[in-house]
């Protein structure tokens, strides 16, 4: 019951489909699958027949045969309401359009061959409607539907582009002098050649168009079928009328052109079979199945049956009534990789598009409103964990990135960096310069630090989950730590490299170095400006002095020595700042510091390269390069150390140094609260930039009100900056009890375990 109601509530406002268990429907499913396989067979046969019979004649025979059978079965004239004149007119229009669609479909069949036709044309209405809904409306039904639509489009594109069928090319060659049997085919051929695509691709386009037409036609005919009293009656009448419509044309064709058919009698059996399998059986089975199951499910099973059957038949089909024409080998439509891939995609697309919408699956029925509509309760999880589609995910995260200052800054700089990298790479590939390419890859590698920082800045804002109960604030510190380590490693390698170069200075080609490194320097300078601005932003209160800092910084970027000192001093300065204010903001957060240092290191690198290039060029000091690198490596190393130290302290759960004094005085205050005997195990640690967690045990006298003390302590510690506190208040007796317990902790643990293993009622009555 609950399952029934919870399945599909949100989509479309109506109550969801009811998924009946498969076991009850096995009969119908088997029937459906059989009919689909037969249909595939029929289509293959009709392709063979269409090689000899003209398409108009073929459709006429088809319509006529089915009309006869349906007249016998349905008796549309003797049963049901009397049909008015206006309805007759509508019926005629209906019949004409159905004729046109069949013509298009079968013409596509002659162009593309049976397999592709089956893949393209035989989609259920549900699939196409869902597809069009995704493509042209906003409320497409969620990301999974979007994915399905994408699969569908990919499949069509696969058929269009990656399906190299030799036959089709050949047909394209010979069709001008070939069978231009009628004005219609001629017109179609001209239209396709006007589109400027090859024949079979034209066929694909044609089939897609006619598929859309078919769906529109079915949708439009729904009203008429209601007016006439049932789809079956409409179908019967429609076949009859279409046969009538086709009759003159077919008669004229038969009269004017000589038939390629040897004996019509030998074609009677295949025609009968086609009529039975393609027209009659499929119609009835679909009608029955959609009555018993819901339409999407029907379509899903149909697709699962039809497409593999089509693939298998395409492989093994050696038509029982194939005329052996001389060009048989050449005219065989072969299986190509593109077709197989697109078949797979079609199956996936139709299964996704017809899958019931997953939204609101987790809602649980809580009851009924006074009006009688069911009420659902949606847990937070259910709403959070809807499936994410890639475009939407990107859109969302972009929005999130741009929301906050830090991440926006990183993001813009990342874009700049990437752009520079790609320009460098392209230019490198274009001019075939290995140095540029490798430098580009190096830049790309640097970007990873930025990506990491960006990701961390995003992740920090995630909500706490059950597993990560303190939230994800620590990611920031971890990212800073990783960035710092990264820099250390790089510095180490640069150091090693330069030592080995010091021993054996290589000849450096200085021509190309300068423009590239100047470009890199410029990019990095922009980055430094941006991030030092962020720095000032973080400081907030003292923007004036920070601005000064930033400027001096900037000014120094021309001399590497001063610059590096500026950077170093800067980070320290920021630190001192925070100390003096002591207001809980630690200047920049670790993440931003890591990114900043990384950019700084890069800048230093380019500055070093420029200086050494100049030195080498002017004075021919080859030794300048390794010395520069040595110097830079040391500088990077030194500037990273404070960051690493801070991050390590946080990760080691140190009491936050800025709060230490406050906390100590707070603890003293706590001791002075009336009724508090003492405290024990005070732990305070910084979890992330703005969360300081703390725990403390208090021993209180037995006659005080615990709540008051908890409130007081919480207030005191909140003043000291702790915002995630838990206080355990212990009365004296309890304390003695617990301290006894913790001396014999192991024994207690062992006892309780033993107890659990011996299946005592382990509700813990042991202690009391």
């Amino acid at each position: 019951m609950e399952d029934k109601y919870s399945s599909n509530v949100l989509s479309g406002g109506k109550l969801g489909m009811v998924e009946v268990p498969d076991s009850r429907l096995t009969r119908y499913i088997v029937l459906l699958i059989l009919s689909k396989i037969l249909k595939a067979l029929g289509i293959f046969e009709s392709y063979d027949i269409l090689k000899v019979v003209h398409i108009v004649q073929f459709i006429f025979i088809l319509k006529f045969g089915s009309a006869v059978i349906l007249l016998v079965f349905q008796k549309p004239f003797s049963s049901g309401k009397v049909i008015s004149k206006r309805q007759w007119i509508k019926l005629v229009k209906h019949a004409v359009s159905s004729c046109v669609i069949s013509l298009l479909g079968f013409f596509g069949l002659t162009l593309c061959g049976p397999l592709r036709t089956l893949l393209l044309f035989e989609h259920s209405d549900v699939v196409v409607v869902a597809l069009l809904g995704v493509l042209f409306t906003n409320s497409g039904g969620g990301p999974s539907k979007t994915r399905g639509a994408a699969f569908f489009i990919i499949a069509v594109i696969c058929l269009l582009l990656f399906d190299n069928d030799q036959l089709m090319a050949k047909m394209g060659d010979h069709h001008p002098e070939g069978h231009h049997d009628s004005a219609l085919t001629h017109f179609l051929y001209t239209a396709i050649s006007l589109l400027g695509v090859a024949d079979h691709k034209g066929g694909v386009v044609l089939l897609v168009v006619s598929l859309c037409l078919k769906v529109g036609f079915h949708t439009a005919s729904r009203k008429l079928s209601v007016e006439l009293g049932g789809a079956k009656r409409l179908y019967a009448l429609d076949s009859l009328l279409s046969a009538a419509v086709m009759l003159p044309w077919a008669a004229v064709l038969t009269a004017t052109t000589e038939s390629k058919v040897d004996s019509w009698s030998s074609l009677a059996v295949p025609f009968a079979m086609i009529i039975f399998s393609v027209v009659i059986l499929e119609f009835y089975v679909e009608a029955v199945c959609s009555a018993k199951m819901e339409a999407p499910r029907c379509a899903r099973y149909g697709a699962f049956a039809l497409f593999p059957a089509a693939l298998a038949l395409a492989n093994f089909w050696t038509g029982p009534l194939r005329r052996p024409p001389p060009t048989q080998l050449a005219t065989e439509h072969v299986l190509s990789g593109g077709v197989i891939v697109s078949a797979v995609f079609f199956v996936m697309a139709s299964s996704i598009l017809t899958a019931p919408s997953k939204k609101g699956q987790k809602g649980t029925l809580v009851g009924y409103s006074p009006e009688g509509t069911p009420l659902y309760n949606f847990m937070g999880d259910a709403l959070q964990h809807t499936s994410q589609s890639l475009p939407r995910f990107i859109k969302d995260s972009l929005k999130q990135i741009l929301e906050e200052y830090d991440s926006r800054q990183i993001f813009y700089f990342l874009c700049l960096n990437l752009a520079f990298t790609f320009v460098e790479l392209f230019y490198g590939v274009w001019t075939n310069s290995l140095g540029l390419i490798s430098d580009g890859f190096h830049m790309l590698f640097d970007c990873s630090a930025l990506v990491l920082g960006l990701f961390a800045a995003l992740m920090t804002r995630w909500k706490a989950t059950r597993i990560f109960s303190y939230g994800f604030g620590r990611v920031e510190i971890l990212s800073g730590f990783i960035n710092g380590l990264f820099l250390m490693v790089i510095a180490f390698f640069v150091f090693v490299e330069s030592v080995s170069r010091l021993l054996d200075p290589p000849n450096i080609n200085t021509d190309m170095l300068t423009p590239v490194s100047v470009g890199g320097l410029l990019v990095n300078l922009v980055g430094i400006c941006a991030f030092s601005h962020a720095h000032s932003h973080a400081h907030g209160g003292k923007s004036c002095s920070s601005q000064d800092h930033g400027h001096s910084h900037h000014g120094h970027s021309h001399g590497e020595h001063g610059h590096a000192h500026g950077g170093h001093g800067h980070s320290h300065g920021g630190h001192g700042h925070a100390h003096s204010h002591g207001s809980g903001s630690r200047g920049m957060n670790a993440n931003m510091r890591g990114v900043f240092l990384h950019v700084l290191a890069d800048t230093l690198g380019s500055v070093g390269v420029i200086i050494s290039t100049i030195l080498i060029r002017q004075f021919g000091w080859l030794i300048a390069d390794p010395i520069c690198s040595l110097f830079i490596a040391t500088l990077i190393f030194l500037s990273v150390i404070p960051l690493l130290k801070d991050a390590c302290e946080v990760l080691l759960l140190r009491t936050p140094p800025e709060q230490e004094k406050d906390l100590n005085s707070a603890l003293e205050k706590i001791e002075k609260i009336e009724g508090v005997l003492s405290y024990r195990d005070p732990h305070f640690w910084r979890h992330s930039a703005n969360v300081i967690a703390g725990t403390i045990h208090l021993q209180v006298m037995s006659d005080v009100v615990e709540q008051r003390i908890i409130q007081q302590v919480t207030a005191i510690l909140k003043d000291a900056g702790v915002n995630n506190l838990s206080v355990q208040v212990e009365k004296e007796a309890y304390f003695q009890h617990m301290s006894g317990l913790s001396t014999g902790f192991q024994d207690v643990l062992a006892m309780t375990r033993q107890m659990a293993s011996m299946k005592y009622p382990n509700d813990g009555t042991l202690i009391l």
Binding site: R466, F468, S469, Y470, R474, V475, L478, I482, L485, F486, V489, S500, L503, D504, C648, L651, L652, L653, R654, T655, E660, N664, L667, L677, S678, Y679, D681, P682, H683, W685, A693, T695, I696, H697, E706, I710, L725, S726, Q728, V729, E730, K731, A733, Y734, L741, F745, Q746, V748, L749, A750, T752, R753, Q754, A756, S757, N762, D763, G764, I767, L768
Partner: protein, 388 residues
Amino acid sequence: MLPLSIKDDEYKPAKFNLLLKLSGWFRSILADKTSRNLFFFLCLNLSFAFVELTYGIWSNSLGLISDSFHMFFDCTALLAGLAASVISRWRSNDSFSYGYVRAEVLAGFVNGLFLIFTAFFIFSEGVERALEPPDVHHERLLPVSVAGLLVNLVGIFVFQHGGHGHSHGDGGHGHSHSLFNGTLSHGHGGHGGHGHSHDGHGHSHDKHGDHGHSHGGHGHGHGHGGHEDCHNELQRPGEGSSKQILQGVLLHIIADTLGSIGVIISALLMQKYDLMIADPICSMLIALLIGVSVVPLLKESIGILMQRTPPTLDNALPECYQRVQQLQGVYNLQEPHFWTLCTDVYIGTLKLLVAPDADTRWILSQTHNIFTQVGVRQLYVQIDTAAM
């Protein structure tokens, strides 16, 4: 009650005495089995690197010099492990109220990161070389790599041996338990590493197996509930020697060993069959193996550093919450935070909303009892009385 904080009037900072400090460090290193092993292996590695360096400078061979620097870089991993194992035994003080036990997790993390870096570098190098194979001078490659392999093999043996000895020392009964638990998981891993050091492929499998084992071992201990198991668990933080450090160091050594093996194999292939492509392929494979085998370690240590709810408690906690909520007088359970301090030490805080007339003392001890049973070592329960 005595005041628990120490006033620093009588405490004068001792004069910095390098010798004293060094000897102190030395003693603390030698005091523990793990750090002793680490230290010896570090010495071995360093001496090898120095020999290589001096020989390289003497014979003016750039390859040897760069290789020796690589060895130095490797030593940093060992150094990190060693430092962590010493640091994690430092007492807790005012600033570091939990002590320094987390250092071991951090060391494991750093080692894992370094390995990932290394794997990445090797991989990119391999790709570069696969595109245009340089001609490697394989005549000198072989001896160096064989020597490196020998050193690393010694390392693996040392750790394996140390692990076993430790387990035997723990007592007869403890053998099977402690084999699975914490300390010995590295011994196991060492064994795997050794066995597999002859073919690189199985290595990652074994790493996975090792990982699974330690978890399985955990379940084992819980289910049977042997005494030794508890002892082990309780004494570990004091003794240092944690899973993370050793796992990290061992992974590093195994990675190095694999590297040498790869070099040897490719050198042989190049010498015998002139297969120049063997070198980059080997190095890429090795890089992949390293990368894959490091992932579990990194995942675990990041989880701990981010105060994740311990995976081993994942299943047990909801049941505990349920039981606490069923205690008489408990209305609600709020803000449960559970996290791992270091290997197998779990800390939790939670707030209980109780009825005004509930027996808070009873609830408190019951709650403590419930969570102690699943292995939470330190618990802070704040009891809030609901408003009337």
